[in-house]
């Protein structure tokens, strides 16, 4: 059950490039990355593409398939008609290096700016105790495979290069949320999330959630709760008043700014 796929791939580097045709034989059960590999093996040995696990677990083969940010290894050809043309381009938010490979160092820089987990001392027996319900929210966010598709699709940086300086992006809002919800972390990261990470730039249009290959509810479960936590801290006079008269949320006690 094989047929010739009308595949088009963007070839080029930072100085320019174009979409070129690579008709390629494909068969049942294959994904876009298989087709790309066949082109690499038979037609263009120097076609640059990043990939590792080919199982949707490492998040390396991010690209845009017919304009949609996708993992190429999870993009099944059976989702397209056999006579449909499939156009594969690199992610359009990051500088291109070559062909389908982009320079994603933006994300690694942002990771560096984020204070990591800071837990208090262990229990006297050398172990730590956390309830399953308390770690579950964070566990959802730690499913993130860092494919950076959410960063790619986010219009805040996709459409505005100048915002890259002040905006960390959905992947790192996940991280802020994870740490802020960590039952044993000792830091209060709300101020940082709003300030350094630019949480306020997000207008919750939810494209990050739409493209997440792990199905993490980035907007509903991480960004909006983080926004609400920032409101607690910065914009809610009732919470402020409660703090003043000692009706504070005890759940946050003992946390300090990093």
């Amino acid at each position: 059950m094989s047929y010739v796929l009308k595949l088009r791939i963007w070839r080029g580097d930072k100085d320019g490039g174009e979409v070129k045709d690579y008709p390629v034989e494909v068969s049942e059960g294959e994904v876009v990355l298989d087709a790309i590999h066949r082109v690499q093996g038979t037609q263009a040995g120097d076609l640059a593409v990043r990939w590792n696990c080919k199982a949707g677990k490492c998040g390396s083969c991010s690209a845009e398939v017919n304009g949609r940010p996708r993992l190429m290894c999870m993009c099944r050809l059976s989702d397209f008609a056999e006579d449909e043309t499939i156009t594969v381009t690199p992610m359009r938010t990051f500088p291109v290096i070559r062909d389908l490979v982009t320079d994603v160092s933006f994300n690694y820089e942002k990771a560096k700016q984020l204070p990591s987990a800071q837990l208090g001392p262990r229990d006297p027996d050398g172990k730590r105790r956390m309830a399953q319900v308390d770690v579950e929210r964070g566990q959802e966010f730690r499913k993130c495979i860092e494919c950076f598709l959410c960063q790619d699709v986010c219009h805040v940086v996709r459409d505005h290069e100048d915002n890259k300086e002040s905006f960390a992006g959905p992947r790192f809002f996940l991280r802020y949320a994870e740490l802020d919800m960590h039952p044993l972390d000792t830091h209060d990261r709300r101020e940082l999330a709003q300030g350094a990470a630019g949480l306020g730039m997000c207008n919750i249009t939810k494209c990050c959630t739409e493209v997440c290959p792990e199905g993490i509810k980035i907007t509903d479960n991480a960004i909006i709760p983080m926004k609400e936590r920032v409101v607690d801290k910065k914009f809610d006079p009732l919470v402020w008043l409660g703090d003043k008269i000692g009706l504070r949320n005890k759940d946050n006690e003992g946390r300090t700014e990093p």
Partner: protein
Amino acid sequence: MPTTDRGVTSPGRARIEERTLRRDRWWLQPLATFVVFSGFVVFATIRAFMGRDYYAEPYLSPFYSPCLGDCVEGASDFGQPFGWWPLSAALLILVFPLGFRMTCYYYRKAYYRAFWLSPPACAVAEPHGSYSGESRLPLLLQNAHRYFWYAAVLVGLVLTYDVLLAFRPMPGRYAVGDGETSGVHMGLGTLLMLANVVLIWLYTLSCHSCRHVVGGRLRHFSKHPVRYRLWTWVSRLNTSHGRWAWYSLFSVAVVDFYIFLLATGTIQDLRFF
């Protein structure tokens, strides 16, 4: 539509001229949102400024509830503290549900996409040259959402009371037989108001701020089992927040229009018992 060279065509990025390579009908959803929301706004504005035909005993239009201005007889169940107000009584009260919906996380997504094209759809370049999101005034005020939610809960309670009243007997001109003064009645209007208030509650309780207030703000669910249960429950509703937003928008308009038709005598209420 031209994009700026600060977006997907910035120097260094892969040179692709199209603002999107999507070939599906990505414009359908923002367009539909635009048309329906605009339609609702026009309808709601007209109805809110009319200042009449909002009460058909025992039914009170949700646009006018609670009716605190100089309202028609029988419509004001909470007095008329703003009796001096020269304009339509709807304007006194609509600001709360309107504010609730304007600052709602779902509606924000919908209108940022459909009205401001920021972005029109995922991976479709937006036409604006610069962008600061909700980090500055006036959009910084979106952070007041939880206050509108508090107000929306009160409005929800009033609308629930209105539904109870809609089961009242009908002594007036809609009475079947002559001058019924006791017992329970139910007409199509009652049913519509009931459906409306259910949808309003689903929308109000599935709100993201509600989810935060009932338990989302906690760091240790394990120490607050009741609030955790509430949070779990709200979280489940919250996954369909957008759906409740649309349904309740329609239901409010339908109820108001139905009452308008009754009040103008265009139709008669369909009575079940």
